[in-house]
């Protein structure tokens, strides 16, 4: 596989996790510092299922995603009713607990040495189709009443409650969906790089995704996808060490939040309408 293709595959996989963060943090203002742990869960569970138990890939993927969603329900149930700070804190603790368990359960996970010999099952077609479907899903989700509810809850939770929105259920739904996204991204990565280790899934990764969302603009799906591609591709092209790269991300986001808090793209969305309109007969355009 060529270098460019390898990198593109990783970017596609990570972008799916970023899309999960976009729904959770961007649209709903919930900060999960344990998103990467869900990615780790997806990666480890699916890899172990396939390598140790010879399960078919598709089934392993399904189990991995369900495990992540199940844990998200538990964590969310305990923490989403209270202040958002506590949710961030609890998810941080959750992330540490998960990576702790991965390191500790040496005979299942290989411990800190990592888990290797995963077959390469993530094909370019699978990765790019998955990303396309993920983008399409988030787009539809945002266009439906869930999108409006998210914005309503984010900007005035009490007002959302008294007009009948079950805020807790909404947050739980979004959290579980975002966990599923992260877990699926983890599966794609594991079967792409063929190796996983606990250190990949620390809180830094979770924060990086939050940074990407705020870089592109938390109110712009286009911004999030483009931001994700830019920020994930740049370090590969420029070949920084991880520490320098992370530091540059930090400086970038500090500058953006101070000068342009709504992100590079603000609320701008790429729209197919102008292109579609070109093909429409003239009189239909006049109606609007």
């Amino acid at each position: 596989m060529s270098f460019i293709l390898t990198i593109s595959l990783s970017i596609a996989a990570y972008s799916i996790a970023v899309l999960g963060t976009f729904m959770l943090t961007g649209m709903n203002g919930l900060f999960s510092l344990g998103q990467a742990a869900f990615m780790g869960l997806g990666a480890y569970v699916s890899a172990i299922m396939v390598v140790n138990y010879n399960l078919p890939f598709a089934l392993a993927v399904l189990i991995a995603i369900l495990v992540a969603m199940g844990l998200a329900v538990l964590v969310g149930f305990a923490t989403l009713r209270i202040r958002q700070d506590f949710f961030a804190l609890a998810t941080f603790g959750f992330g540490q607990a998960v990576t702790g368990l991965m390191t500790e359960m040496v005979n299942v996970t290989g411990g800190a040495m990592g888990f290797s010999n995963i077959p390469r099952l993530t094909t370019p077609t699978l990765a790019f189709t998955s990303l396309a479907v993920a983008i399409f899903f988030v787009w539809g989700f945002r266009k439906s009443h869930f999108g409006k509810d998210s914005l309503a809850i984010r900007s005035n939770e009490l007002a959302a409650k008294v007009e009948g929105i079950d805020v807790f259920k909404h947050k739980l739904t979004v959290f579980v969906l975002s966990a599923a996204f992260a877990a699926y991204a983890g599966v794609l990565m594991a079967f792409h790089t063929r190796y996983v280790e606990p250190a990949m899934y620390g809180w830094i990764a979770s924060v990086t995704w939050i940074i990407i969302v705020f870089f592109g603009g938390r109110d712009s799906l286009t911004g999030t996808v483009l931001g994700s591609i830019i920020l994930l591709a740049a370090p590969e092209a420029l070949r920084f060490t991880t520490a320098w790269r992370t530091l540059i991300y930090c400086v970038l986001i500090l500058v953006i939040i101070n000068l342009r808090p709504r992100g590079l793209f603000g609320t701008w969305e790429l729209s197919l309408r102008p292109i579609l309109n070109l093909f429409k007969p003239k009189k239909h355009q006049e109606v609007q």
Partner: protein, 260 residues
């Protein structure tokens, strides 16, 4: 002639720490009736509305609506049962147009789950179309047709109040709670609002609980009035009775007159 009681509040008490915000309040709203609660600041008026709308559950007492006790019920459940409200300090959503804001009141009725949004199923599109139509109806009703696609928070204060009322109406409630709807409005705007409430009341067969400290609003609209002072009910009656009650005059009206 006699109307049935729709919301029955019995011995409501709310303590915050050691402080008694509302002390043993009893009262009721009948079908198609406007009642008012008046009283100076800190009298516990908003707390009563907060208890009814589920925002802060009472320390003791009960609120009976449709044969059920609302105490301890979460706000969204109370709303879904048919009680909607507005806020004294307007609570609108950032960046949202008037139409979108009003549409969110229908969200909980959506018949589909998040997975269906992936396929953009016809049900999703149909629901969206339906609630857009219904929401526009309420927006027209409060007289904001021109502003339907403007960002709600960018509108003048008086219009923002109307957006909140439209949003509350979109819950299609039996009971409407209005928390100081006249606050921050000028004289003409207040009169417009009073007319609007009067219209809605007679057209929609609503029951309304109204809080205000402006006498003219309360006296024009309300059929029955409860007077609160320092968390305690000090009087009740028709507007004429209340205006003559010496206790009420001393606690509230007298103060107002001397200030004016």
């Amino acid at each position: 002639m006699d109307k049935a009681v729709i919301v029955d509040m019995n011995h409501l008490t709310k303590m915050f720490g050691g402080l008694c915000a509302v002390n043993d309040f009893s009262g009721h709203v009948k079908e198609n009736q406007i009642i008012g609660i008046i009283g100076p600041n800190g009298a516990g008026k908003t707390t009563i509305l907060n208890m009814v709308s589920g925002i802060c559950p009472p320390t003791s007492g009960e609120i009976i609506f449709k044969g059920k006790n609302l105490c301890g019920m979460e706000p969204h459940k109370v709303n879904q049962m048919g009680i909607a409200r507005t806020f004294q300090n307007i609570r609108l959503f950032e960046d949202m147009t008037v139409l979108d804001t009003v549409m969110t009141a229908y969200s909980w009725r959506a018949p589909y789950n998040p997975i269906e949004t992936l396929f953009s199923s016809p049900r999703v599109a149909r629901f969206d179309r339906e609630i857009k139509e219904k929401s526009m109806h309420w927006i027209n009703r409060v007289g904001l047709t021109e502003q339907a696609h403007a960002v709600a928070k960018s509108l003048p204060y008086g219009m923002q109040r109307r957006v909140e009322i439209a949003r509350a109406l979109a819950s299609e409630p039996l009971v409407l709670l209005l928390d100081e709807p006249g606050a921050g409005l000028n004289q003409t705007e207040v009169q417009g609002l009073v007319d609007l409430i009067q219209d809605l009341f007679s057209d929609l067969h609503l029951s309304i609980m109204l809080i205000d400290h402006r006498m003219e609003v309360i006296m024009q609209l309300c059929e029955w009035i409860y007077v609160q002072d320092f968390g305690k009910k000090i009087g009740q009656g028709t507007p004429e009775q209340v205006q003559k009650d010496p206790l009420v005059i001393k606690a509230y009206l007298g103060e107002d007159i001397s200030n004016a």
